[in-house]
Symmetry: C2
Subunit: 220 residues, 2 copies
C-alpha cells in the first residue's frame, strides 16, 4: 500500500515538472516518514544516491516495476449490477496497467450485453474457460453480500489467485489466495469524524486536500 | 482513519463474543501498534483501566461517538450513473449511521426515477434546497472526471462541507471544506504487487485475510 502511495506522489512530482527528489523532500512534501521511505525502497535494491536522492523518472519506473504494473494485469468482474458496470467503465483503472477482460453474471437478461465502454457480460459458467484463455489474474467481486462467499469460491475454482471484494461481507480466502476486502464505508466515517468536530487537535493541516492518500499514512 | 479501523476490530471482537480487551491484545490480534492505540484513545479522554483494558461494548460506544456515528448523517449522491446507483443501494453504508437522502443528476430521463432500494433521483438544480430541507451534510461525487470540479463547486455552494470524490480526478477543496478523494485503483495495485511476487519477504502473514484494513496500518 505504501509503495502505491509513493507512486502517486512521484506522479504528482512528475506533473509538477520536478525531476529529482530526496527521501526527505518526498517526506516533507507529502507528509510521509523519510526513514520509512528509505527502508521501503532499500528492500528492493539500492538505486537512490546518498545525499542526492532519486531521479523521478527512474523512481517511477522502479516503483511501477515493483508493483508489477509494467505489464498489463487482466481483471474479471463478477456481478454485472451497477457496481460491476461502474467498475468496468472506471477510467482510473485503465490508465494504470489494468484491463477489464469481462463482466460475469448469471442473469440471462444481462449475458451478451455490453457496458457503456464496451466490456461484454459473459455467463459466469464460462468464468474458468475465459480466465485461462485470456490469462485473467484478478477477480473483482461485485455481487450482493449474500452471494459473495459462493462467488469467491467460484473465482478460486476458476484459477484466480487475487480477489478484490466490494461486497459488504467478511470473506475468508483459502491459502494461496490473496483477498482484499474493500471497505467503502471507512471513507464516510472519516468525514463523519470531522463533521462531528471531536478531533482533539483541529488544525486545518490535519486533513490533506490533495492528494488524500499519502496523508493517511502519516505518523502522528 | 485509525479510529475506524479500531471500530472494525471491536465489531469483530463483539461478533466473537469477547467482552474485554487490552491495547496489547487488540494490537496482537489485529497486528496494530499498542502504543499508538493507547495514544489515539487517550486523546479523547481516559476510559480504559490500566492493566485491565477496555470493556468491548464501552469501547465500541466510545468509538462510535468520537466518529460521530451516534447520530444519522445524511448523504447526497451527485451523479446517478452506475456508480451513484450502486452507492445509493450499498448496504454497507446503511448499517453504520449513514442515510442516502437522494441521488442528483441533470439527465432529464433519470430525474424522478428511483434506485433499486428506493432512493429518488432529483434534479441537481434542487441540490441546495434539499440539502437545507433534509439537513444533508455529506456529498458523494460520482460523475465523470471531467464534470467533477464543477460538481464539487456546486456541492460547496449548496452548503455541503464534507465531500467524498469517487471520480478519478484530482480535486481541490476550498478552505473549510473536507474533501476526500477515494482511490479505487490503489487496491488493485496492492494485489498486483503480490501477483508480481516482488515482495522482499513473502511470509503469508504479511497479507491479512480479514479484516484487511487494520493490517495496512501496521508498522514494519
Amino acid at each position: 500500500m505504501r509503495l502505491s502511495v509513493y507512486l502517486r506522489c512521484v506522479d504528482l512530482l512528475e506533473t509538477d515538472g520536478i525531476c529529482r527528489v530526496s527521501s526527505e523532500g518526498l517526506a516533507r512534501r507529502f507528509d510521509l516518514n523519510s526513514a520509512q521511505i528509505r527502508k521501503d525502497l532499500a528492500a528492493f535494491g539500492e538505486f537512490g544516491v546518498r545525499g542526492v536522492g532519486y531521479q523521478v523518472p527512474e523512481l517511477k519506473r522502479h516503483l511501477r516495476s515493483i508493483l508489477g504494473l509494467d505489464e498489463t494485469r487482466r481483471v474479471a468482474i463478477v456481478g454485472a449490477g451497477h457496481l460491476g458496470q461502474a467498475l468496468a467503465d472506471y477510467r482510473g483503472f485503465r490508465s494504470g496497467g489494468f484491463e477489464i477482460s469481462g463482466l460475469f453474471d448469471n442473469d440471462r437478461s444481462k449475458i451478451g450485453t455490453r457496458s457503456r465502454t464496451g466490456v461484454t457480460v459473459y455467463d459466469v459458467a464460462r468464468l474458468k474457460e475465459l480466465v485461462i484463455q485470456r490469462e485473467i489474474q484478478i477477480g473483482m467481486i461485485t455481487v450482493p453480500a449474500s452471494a459473495a462467499p459462493d462467488v469467491a469460491r467460484l473465482c478460486v475454482e476458476a484459477g484466480l489467485r487475487a480477489l478484490l471484494n466490494f461486497a459488504p461481507a467478511r470473506l475468508q480466502a483459502p491459502p494461496g489466495v490473496r483477498l482484499k476486502n474493500v471497505d467503502l464505508k471507512i471513507n464516510l466515517e472519516t468525514l463523519s469524524f470531522y463533521i462531528a468536530g471531536s478531533s482533539p487537535r483541529r488544525r486545518r493541516e490535519e486533513w490533506p486536500q490533495t492528494p488524500s492518500q499519502p496523508r493517511s499514512h502519516r505518523r502522528t
